[in-house]
């Protein structure tokens, strides 16, 4: 492996790396918040919320990520809203991923045995108290493996920003590859930068999973 392409292009690599981390963090926070809201919509008994939640999940889960990003990047300007490539890309990423996260969280909540809710409700706890103190803490454990998968996918999928000039790692990788003609080494270094983010994520989730599973 030839390191000159890395040492001579450290600045664009690092700029892309930081932007990818930034997009991932924003995407992660946004998709988690949206995912929890949509999951809760879907398990309530309020019909309009259930319909909205179901429509949201089925729409965004079943179209390509690139299309979601284009809707925000190229579609929104016709409604008078213009977003930068970075903003449109990150927003698209968060919305797309939130559909998968909502499903994972919903499945986790439904997997907590009904007897848990019955025990809590029969002792006089309200719906929200039961959720907060009894159901969600158990659901979180069940949801960590699928959730960490989604977060790892989100980091990798952030490469979609390169298509809408989002200045992420993949974007600068393309720039460096075009300028140096050293494609193989450039893209291997891009891969290395992605692994720096994703490997600790998957290791961390395994540790967390073990820690939480201790008492079951």
């Amino acid at each position: 492996m030839d390191f000159t392409v890395l040492t001579e292009n450290m600045e664009p690599f690092l700029r892309g790396f930081l932007n990818t981390i930034w997009a991932s963090l924003l995407g992660l926070a946004g998709s988690f918040v949206l995912g929890v809201i949509i999951a809760v919509f879907r398990i309530t008994r309020l019909r309009p919320l259930v319909w909205f939640g179901t429509g949201y999940v089925e729409f965004f889960r079943n179209i390509p990520l690139l299309l979601v990003v284009f809707l925000f990047y190229l579609g929104l300007p016709s409604l008078g809203v213009t977003l930068s490539g970075f903003a449109a890309g990150t927003l698209g990423l968060a919305v797309y991923t939130s559909a998968f996260i909502a499903e994972a969280i919903r499945a986790g909540i439904l997997a907590v045995p009904a007897g848990q809710t019955e025990a809590a409700r029969s002792s006089g706890l309200g719906y929200v108290q039961t959720m907060v103190h009894v159901v969600l803490p158990q659901a979180i454990k069940l949801v960590i493996p699928p959730l960490s998968n989604q977060f790892i996918n989100l980091v990798k999928n952030s490469s979609v920003l390169s298509i809408v000039a989002g200045f992420d790692l993949m974007y600068y990788g393309d720039v460096v590859a075009t300028e140096t003609f050293d494609t193989i080494n450039t893209y291997l270094f891009v891969a290395m930068f992605y692994l720096i983010i994703t490997l600790p994520l998957s290791y961390g989730s395994r540790v967390l999973e073990r820690k939480l599973a201790r008492h079951d």
Binding site: E118, A120, S122, S123, G124, L125, Q129, V134, Q138, D216
Partner: protein, 242 residues
């Protein structure tokens, strides 16, 4: 304390409870027996509205329990419930299982709730397990924790839904002993069970249900020795033949 008046319940086309009339007085122990699927658990679960009724009146502690306008959480404070599968919270220690509702529902301080919890753990004989997690306990111990959890709310009524059915045989006794002690202290109890020995020894009245109906209701002596209904005779006969 509890009055069923012409209570009916349907699950779609399935008629689960048919014209249930039953009253339980303060301090009484009523044991409900019958074959599986006879509606006895459903009837019990109506008392704290874990199940809804289709028609009729059900009064508990002077409240129309199926009136949509009542604050059901307030009514449930006074009704403890023990389940077949214990339903302890696996992510909480024994002590925290017991103090959750007293703190969140009754507004006790942590220290007060812990004192109460220890008192009842002492009473059910497992104070030494206060800091264990449910998964570290045997079935019998878990069920005794569940009873302590119910008692910690200082309820007026305790409901037991087949409390010993999921236990290994050698653990049934320790749970029944706790329930017997509770009955002697005058707790109002409704117990769905297959433990005929317990019914005979502890019950003030035994109720026999089959196919959603109450077919017979009498004090234990008459119930077991002079059953009137044909179906009850068959039911008891089957139990005694093995």
């Amino acid at each position: 304390m509890i009055q069923f008046h012409q209570v009916e319940k349907h699950y779609g086309h399935f008629h689960v409870l048919k014209n249930i009339n039953l009253s339980v007085e303060e301090g009484e122990v009523v044991v409900v027996v019958g074959p599986s699927g006879s509606g006895k658990s459903t009837m019990l679960r109506c008392i704290n509205r874990l199940e809804t009724i289709t028609s009729g009146l059900l009064t508990v502690n002077g409240v129309q329990i199926h009136d949509r306008k009542i604050d059901i959480n307030r009514v449930r404070r006074d009704i403890g419930m023990v389940f077949q599968h214990f339903n302890l919270y696996p992510h909480k220690k024994v002590i925290d299982n017991i103090t959750l509702a007293p703190i969140k529902v009754l507004g006790l301080s942590k220290a007060e709730a812990a004192d109460t919890a220890m008192y009842y753990l002492e009473k059910v004989g497992i104070a030494d397990k206060a800091n264990a997690y449910p998964s570290q306990l045997s079935g019998g111990q878990q069920q005794r924790v569940a009873i302590a959890r119910g008692l910690a709310m200082k309820p007026k009524i305790m409901l037991f839904d087949e409390p010993t059915s999921a236990l290994d045989p050698e653990m049934v006794g320790e749970v029944l002993d706790v329930m017997k002690a509770l009955a002697r202290e005058g707790m109002t109890m409704v117990v769905v069970t297959h433990e005929m020995g317990f019914a005979r020894e502890v019950a003030d009245r035994v109720v026999f249900m089959d196919q959603g109906q109450i077919l017979e209701e009498s004090e234990p002596g008459a119930f077991f020795d002079r059953p009137q209904e044909e179906r009850l005779k068959t039911f008891l006969g089957r139990l005694l033949s093995h």
